[in-house]
């Protein structure tokens, strides 16, 4: 590159700025080229393929308009997938954030809080598939040889539960999700709480505020923006839940019963799942629904959380 030694006197500041700007493209282009090629172009392709009927390699995509979408609406599998995904986002999200808020109330003035945070954070760097298999063994229901969860239940005299039965699996996955991801959101919120000047809490102590009042009138307003960003992060990650459900609800090789499906499972089943002929067109339409769902929820969340900036 042009690292030619400047002859004699140093170049004028304007010239330096121009040379700086010349650096932009060589620096920026490789990354953005890969980004466009591997993310943007495929996204557009998915949208286009969503309007076609295509069973994959060897077949030519045939334009069918909105047929895939009306097929999706009529399909039980898709309805379960959509509702389950929505349930994970909303119920899982509310559960995770309630837990995280409860923790911020307590952790702020607790000794050993840092250690607690580090322990709770760990599941976030475990592969979802490993988490799924692990929960699968913990939640086994087999009389006399119960998994850890039922072992604990029985040891306190409660009847064992068929956690992994199709009618329970959605709630079990929600629970696992909350358990595994709350550490991440606790950490984000606590980082924001730590930035709140302590005198605000001291003042409210003097005024005799209860923990709830301190949370409601100090913590929540001053961490509102971070809560908003965390909500967006949650939505983005909850939309694509796949491995956890796939290994927890089913036998692992092929798709689990449709009652437990998420949109991620649906797309996988219609494209790369091992059973039946692939239906790439339908899968692409479902993938478009995923991206629409993220966009709508993220925009709605930002609207909902918008308010004037608080200085402190």
């Amino acid at each position: 590159m042009s690292t030619a030694t400047a002859p004699g006197r140093p170049p004028a500041p304007g010239a330096h700025l121009a040379r700086k700007k010349r650096l932009f493209f060589p620096f920026f282009l490789p990354a953005v080229a890969l980004y466009v090629l591997f993310l943007l172009v495929p996204t557009v392709a998915t949208v286009v393929l969503g309007f076609t009927d295509w069973s994959g390699a060897g077949d030519t995509p045939e334009f069918t308009g909105l047929a895939n979408y009306s097929e999706l609406i009529a399909s039980d599998a898709f309805r379960y997938s959509f509702l389950n995904t929505l349930l994970y986002i909303v119920v899982g999200g509310v559960g995770t954030f309630l837990l995280a808020f409860l923790f911020t109330m307590v952790l702020r003035e607790m000794r050993g809080g840092k250690v607690v945070r580090a322990i709770l954070f760990f599941p976030n760097i475990v592969a979802p598939i490993a988490l799924g298999m692990f929960f699968g063994i913990i939640l086994v229901y087999r009389p006399n040889r119960q998994g850890l969860a039922n072992y604990l239940l029985e040891s306190v005299g409660i009847d064992a539960v068929k956690f992994l039965a199709p009618e329970n699996i959605t709630w079990v996955v929600t629970g696992c999700l909350i358990w595994a991801s709350s550490g991440f959101y606790i950490t984000i919120l606590m980082a924001a709480v730590d930035r709140i000047p302590p005198y605000l809490y001291e003042d409210s102590d003097i005024a005799g505020a209860t923990p709830w009042q301190k949370f409601r009138h100090v913590t929540l307003p001053l961490t509102w923006d971070v809560v908003g960003v965390a909500g967006v992060l949650w939505t983005i990650s909850a939309v694509k839940i796949f491995e956890l459900v796939f290994v927890l609800a089913g036998p692992g090789t092929y798709s689990p019963p449709i009652r437990s499906w998420t949109l991620g499972v649906f797309v996988f089943d219609r494209s790369f799942g091992d059973q039946g002929a692939p239906a790439y067109g339908t899968a692409c339409a479902a993938a478009v629904v995923m991206i629409l769902l993220v966009s709508v929820l993220v925009v709605a969340l930002r609207r909902l959380m918008r308010r004037d900036v608080i200085q402190y």
Partner: protein, 302 residues
Amino acid sequence: MTTTAPAGKRTPPRKPKPAPTARGLSPLRALGMAVVWLFTALNVLVLYWLVAAAFKTPIEIFTKPFALPRTWFERGQPFRNLLYAWDNAGFGRAFLITVVLVAVASVVIVLLAAPAAYALTRLGVRGSGGLTNLFAIGMGIPFQTVVIPLFIGMAEFDLTNDLFGLFLIYVALSLPFTVFLLTGFFRSLPDELEEAAAIDGASPSRTFFTIMLPLARGGLITALILNAIGLWNETLLSIVFLNENANFTLARALFAFNSAASYQSEYGGLVAGVAIVVLPMLVLYLLLARRIITGLTLGAGK
């Protein structure tokens, strides 16, 4: 009552005794403490269970979940489960593949993302803000929406079931997060050093390589670690793009092993398989917890 800053002078000694309700046992606080400790204890317990179960027989796993492993030790082959998983799932080869793939991909990702993040934050080019947002939006695209066209496209070039193909995809799909993370780091660097370098006659590219990159070292290392963790755990893409045992990554091998071993009720082996994937992350975490936590939560905390 909330935001009344300490009014005026500090004549009275601060730190008066807290009001009676604040300390002590408010019911909400007591409940909160109980939940926090219970939840934390459960996490530790579960981790212990995982490690212990990797050395147990299925009967021990299910009938004595908290006992220390015994049977395999008594039979003189304490590592039986780990060896079973290692041999039957092909973890030996998968481990090697994953280590190399993850290491090379993480380095390449950072090598590509660092100049891009620098260009977006430090070169004063108009439109940089919009382009940064474009990368940020990329973080919100679920992999499922790109995987079908990617698969078709890669098949055109014979890059499916191919580790180089997977490497390309890993690099490309990790860029949005990494670029976004690094723009934060570069933005926080002081202007003065860059200006000083310019006055001393250093060319812009030299300023980048000898001044700014070393300054952003902390950010680069964080980006490296976070990508390594993410790719180590990545499963969906490896399921789609790899279908031959000889090419399997660790997560992909675990996925295949899961169905085989649960069919045979080989629970000891299953837990051992999970442990083989999880324990390297645990070691990394014990060494680098603070860096991992702050790195991963940085985006949200501004």
